[in-house]
Subunit: 322 residues, 2 copies
């Protein structure tokens, strides 16, 4: 397969994206890699492996740039890389840049699958109960009940095809587990999903997200983004406090040395680099959204995910299911 990398997007771009892409090129010598970036960045790349080629773009959508600017930046790295998927010159596009721009480029260039009202970002979550799916985590800040139903349907197909769950349990993220909880959006979506024939298991709360006991958690992009970033923030702060405490005295340093392996296992359980990227579900093509803070390891994982989507023929399967 051919993978296009937007090497200009992300907090650690271009170096982290290039490193991740080159690691992937080395690990998978039969796949073709296209690095899409500004000429000044590409010029510095000498002696690229045989399966890696550069492609120059003319501009970059900044991380915090208004997505409406995309229409005036059709030479940007994200537009150029997505266009390669449209013209079949690439099978997938990977970016850690502006999520809004990536979603807009995918929707405009690749078009939506019939039956998908709006694409959603489906993030794989590590839970006590194994890896689960959580969507939408940020593509759609304002949602309708029918959009949440469509996320539930797409999530179910993804969970079956790529995560190997049989008859996955779908839940809604709400402010309580009872059926009458939630805002109007969640209450109306509850009624829709309940009658949809999906394996619906009702509402879950924020504190249930990492526990598991579901396969697909559905919510609007605003709630999903707040939940996932709140969890990230809490994990990062506890880990920071642990580090500070465990290096604060000779005694604590000794203790820390004895539990090094234990702490490593906990850190690894929450390591988002292991997950890497989240696919944009609902578009006619593979577009993997990476965290803005992605480092090389994340980009490598995201490329593996793109490969898995491609090998499983996921887009066609989703189209048939919807």
């Amino acid at each position: 397969m051919k993978l296009a990398f937007d090497i200009m997007g992300g907090d650690h771009a271009p170096s982290a994206i290039i490193d991740g892409a080159l690691d992937f090129a080395k690990a998978y010598p039969h796949e073709e890699i296209i690095l899409v970036g500004l000429p000044c960045v590409l010029e510095a790349l000498t002696a690229l492996p045989a399966n890696v080629s550069p492609l120059a773009c003319g501009s970059v959508m900044a991380m915090d740039e208004d997505v409406r600017n995309l229409m005036r930046k059709k030479d940007s790295s994200i537009w150029t890389a997505t266009e390669l998927v449209k013209t079949k010159e690439a099978d997938a596009i990977i970016s850690a840049g502006s999520t809004g721009a990536q979603m807009a480029a995918a929707t405009l260039l690749l078009a939506r699958i019939k039956g998908c009202e709006r694409p959603a970002i489906a993030s794989a979550l590590p839970t006590l109960d194994g890896g689960k799916l959580f969507l939408d985590v940020g593509a759609n800040a304002d949602c309708t009940p029918s959009m949440l139903l469509s996320f539930a349907k797409m999530g179910a197909v993804y969970a079956e095809e790529l995560l190997n769950f049989t008859n996955p349990r779908i839940v809604l993220l709400a402010n309580g587990t009872e059926a009458h909880k939630g805002n109007k959006l969640i209450q109306d979506a509850y009624a829709l999903i309940k009658d949809s024939g999906l394996n619906f298991s009702g509402n879950k709360e924020g504190r249930d997200i990492l526990v598991g006991d579901y396969e697909v958690m559905v919510c609007d992009g605003m709630s999903g983004n707040i939940a996932i970033k709140s969890i990230e923030g809490a994990v990062s702060i506890i880990m920071g406090m642990l580090k500070q405490e465990l290096t604060s005295s000779l005694k604590s340093k000794l203790g820390a040395a004895l539990i090094r392996d234990n702490l490593y296992r906990i850190k690894k359980a929450f390591d988002q680099d292991e997950v890497g990227g989240a696919p944009l579900l609902g578009i006619k093509g593979i577009s993997i959204v990476c965290h803005g803070s992605s480092k090389a390891k994340s980009i490598f994982s995201a490329a593996q995910l793109a490969r898995k989507c491609f090998e499983s023929d996921f887009v066609n399967k989703l189209e048939s299911a919807l």
Copy 2:
């Protein structure tokens, strides 16, 4: 002052609520305590201290009961206890029961302060930067931009009067820090609060909640509830993993013994029992909402908070400010 405790509400009711109330009665012998509960519970309470008196109610609003049932349960513990504040037989009411029922009873019996569109639950948050205020954390699942403006105003007064912050910085919880981020609600509230004369510092993300660098964080009750419970869940899971890892071998147990004090400090930093309760802002009276999972220590802290609200004459100050 006189404090009314709804001893029937909460996961650990009635014993945890009674224990917390009695601890408070002992620590503050000049305050009067009223325990509102079912006769069968009150009968078992023998030899109450001189400053504690029982008051029988006829029913209980269950934790997951539809709040509309409250109108048919005007003999419930939450309604009876709130009524004591209305008739000036008590100065504050404390409950760990159904939040919806507590809010409905407060709104119907005590009425709203002029200028407050809807009461909000204002939770004190421990952040790296000290204790901050976060509202609404669950009273209003559906909000309008003007409600968020009113939360911002009430939060600013609370932060000044009870948390001693001068000119507190107000922020909105969104899915990104840029001004154009957020759903329609947050975008419209952004414009309103920006022009309100409050010390507005823009948008913050989920990962900023525990960092601080603000004094009052404003959001709708659905987002606030999801954020706070996501953080609680993440903290609880990491602490659980730590406990499991640190008791998994002799080596890790030895290490754990050396860092006992360090772990205790981290646990204490996130201990919600230290905070206890959150006031319902915007009603003509003091009603402290406690976490459903409250134990005696939380209830004791909540009673201290009620006392602080009373001593500072907060309700009148809020009324003047609005």
